[in-house]
Symmetry: D2
Subunit: 298 residues, 4 copies
């Protein structure tokens, strides 16, 4: 199949290679000309403008957007949609908020363009060698491009999830679970680190990955991480987040759902961004006021 790729960042580039390896013809655009040059060398057809990309594709076009969620997705969508024709299929493979995807689905539909919201998991490695994809939108549109999802994903690693928005929603929840799992693993290792015992964390990760209840891909990644830096001495414990965890918590609140583990996973990430907190100052001040407990002066 002929596929247009918009965005040749970490994910989009690997996905393009993956698609070409499976025999698809990839035309690709990126704002970064060097990336476009590179994809041409790697067997793709480069496009230096969205207009050029659209012209390179036969109708009905199949275009995969793989750009950062938020403003950039909005911008690209707004530029791209006017260039498309009835019957074209536009796949958003990024981490868009499901409500934005619902809105874009409606806007695209008015023009006769099918919008599929595709949550993509598995990281950069997965994009190259086998991802996990969850796709929402019209079933007829999905059917036309199912082979793409099938081929870029690992075996059994793609799913048509239902109506528009359901793909990105499912990916959001996936990430919320991921936050919780990561924090759970991390808390466990922190208690180990403070214990009177002297564990080899790489070996611990290995044994936990072989036969235990908590064996998982994340634990495999811990083996890799500890094999390179046995006590993680080289890095700081600053935990950034990219938005999906926050959306999951906000969505839980919208549904009046208690999701304490996901919420706390997110909040401990926020806490890690600060050296000192006003919360701490207030509590320290109060303790000083009522109990005469010494405060730590700056």
């Amino acid at each position: 199949m002929q596929i247009g790729m918009v965005g040749l960042g970490k994910m989009g580039y690997q996905l393009s290679l993956n698609l070409m390896e499976k025999g698809h013809a990839v035309s690709a655009y990126d704002v970064n000309k060097e990336s476009v040059d590179n994809i041409s060398k790697d067997g793709g057809q480069g496009a230096y403008t969205l207009e050029e990309l659209v012209k390179q594709l036969d109708r009905p076009r199949k275009i995969w957007m793989m750009v950062p969620a938020g403003e950039i997705t909005e911008q690209v969508f707004n530029q791209l949609l006017p260039l498309l024709d009835e019957g074209d299929i536009l796949i958003d493979g990024g981490n868009a908020h499901y409500k934005d995807s619902l809105r874009r689905y409606d806007v695209a539909k008015e023009k006769g363009v099918s919008y599929l919201d595709c949550g993509t998991s598995g990281g950069v490695e997965g994009a190259r060698n086998g991802a996990c994809t969850m796709i929402g939108g019209d079933k007829e549109a999905f059917d036309q491009v199912e082979s793409i999802f099938k081929e870029i994903s690992v075996d059994k690693g793609y799913l048509y999830t239902g109506k528009a928005g359901s793909g990105h929603f499912l990916k959001m929840i996936h990430n919320g679970i991921e936050y919780g799992m990561m924090q759970a693993i991390a808390e466990g290792f922190e208690i180990l680190e403070k214990s009177p015992f002297d564990y080899d964390y790489e070996k611990v990760s290995t044994v936990w990955n072989n036969g235990s209840v908590i064996r998982s891909w994340l634990m495999e990644l811990m083996e890799n991480a500890f094999s390179k830096d046995s006590k993680l001495d080289k890095i700081k414990g600053v935990m950034h987040s990219s938005g999906e965890g926050k959306w999951t918590v906000e969505t839980a609140l919208d549904f009046q759902t208690a999701a304490p583990v996901i919420a706390l996973s997110l909040m401990m990430r926020y806490r890690s961004l600060e050296d000192d907190t006003f919360t701490g100052k207030v509590v320290a001040a109060l303790r000083n006021e009522f109990g005469g407990h010494a405060v730590v002066e700056k």
Copy 2:
């Protein structure tokens, strides 16, 4: 009444002054000779050993222990009990664990000594001018010394709480609630501090103390604190804890009770003791492994 005071620290000294003001004769012992000298000057009878203290008191003796919970309470109790006689009443006004108080009650009872566990709240100020006391143990023993509790406490500020252990248990829960309230107040101010608005926190504390749902003594203390340091710039947000919060959480677990607010109040205190965390390192390492997200190097 003639009362023996063991421990002339921040709390014990003020309590002695309070008792003397109410017309009681106080004999007082402390390991620190200077404190004993001082109490003599302030109208008490100093005792430089526990033996001396015991001799100064008529039977049945009424002795108030006001020493740090844990090992020191245990030590003092073990030294003091052999010196006492049947009918004597021993009050532990410190923050002992209720299970320890139960044990000590039993040990004392074998000797015919009545043990009262008295939780004391209100801080140093309260000890001097009107505390809040919660007293567990035998009702007959309580009745003999009720006037003491009545006089050192503010009006309606003392309560016989029931059988042995119940006084210290109630004080423990009081402190658990205190942890939660303090953290709630502190989180509120932290959000204010990050807001786009420019609040005068002293005035905020004042308005919240006058007519609002959250008016409270803790909020009054915030007025004091902010009046001295309007943004708490001079102190660090290090939140120490002295044990009762931990006991409350452990007790909640023993009773299979969900007490998330008290538990998190405690855990955020622990978190504030650390500049960096192993938890954070693990999560940062994982994000790097699967997403190629940059880590912050040390």
Copy 3:
């Protein structure tokens, strides 16, 4: 001063009585005609339409909206604003989201109408006998109506908080703190309830209110509550919420702030709305799968 009141619900009616008692002339409108009839009997001037209300007031008008936040506030605002003239002052005394108040401030400003966002605390009792008010908006507008806030609030119980939105923001945070305090108190009593001791909760509330660190208006309310139902046997532990707690948590997330206690207070309320949870089913199913642990069948 002549004041227009829009909304004669629980809060608005009491506030009107409060204002009249202080010598103000109150014209009042409500969709409910009976309430309008009643306020006339109680000394106010009734208005059966917004138009009528506006006509009853001399310019520059001072109008206090006391209607439920959300759609109704939006509706009333949209109906009222076209009837007003340059120089009029519109006070929103309800629990609007501060971002909505900011927006309304801007819309009103275009017409030359001053919008003040006033957070009102203290409950129904406070509205009648002395509330706590936090007011954001233009200082000049505030100055014109300061006497109103001063007279309906308890002494020191009103504060001009700064630019538009800051009043409702501060009230939102106040409610967030309130959620945390309430949950902390509640967890404490739950642990007491599961303890081996037999406390009289009314007496416990009383003693905690006299001299202790956690004395507070909320604890006074516990005295009232327990005096009427000593073990709260008559009510179910269903904890509703009206929105401000959710906004506080969402705002904390927007500012990347860890506010675990406020978040958990809210989530435990959500949890209380459900008899059974899907979370619980999933965990039970997992335990059954790996450990053969029996599940509770329905």
Copy 4:
């Protein structure tokens, strides 16, 4: 090797079969005579008393205890130790608290008996076909029986973890992480369940297990669970716990570690055991007191 098995419950029986399959001679004891009869039929040597078991084994004996943690382990240990001789090796494969294992190690050492604390994960299936084992204690003792751990575990699924206690400590932390992971997964599915979408949870579990970041054995178990009961309609969301999660939280507190995710996972389990809570009653009562909010009557 000749191995004595004490305890033929779910885990011990399967482990015995596993050991025999690997060519070991198993003598086995249980209080339940039927289990002993059965193991004889399955190729083992049955022992109807601990004395009989000990006699069946050549010195130095290798005995594996697989009995419930707590009182029963204590009892069996106290009965068994006097029957053993210097040089014998006693393995506790159950879920004992690491502090108990440390104590038993010391007691056994005085008699010249080597005590190994072996955390065993992987469930009943793992015990039969390949477990995950983490072993603490003297290295020399471990070396003598390493082949046992190697053979009953999956490849790379056993680890000598260091000095006494470290095996059970590591297993405890493993379970703490497990609690957090399970709750994270469960919260995710609860939000899905409340979403406007209509997911097939078995298929969701499958797609998440193929290529996604959260692929894990627990997610595989979700596939099984949903394949049998697609919405878990047949079970109640009652989440029991067997102790290791509680120990993990207590240990975190002992080390002054913030482990909010593991703590909340545990507390939500406790919450699930109750239909109504006193916490909820208190909050509902307070809302009624200050806001006149209706309570739900029983």
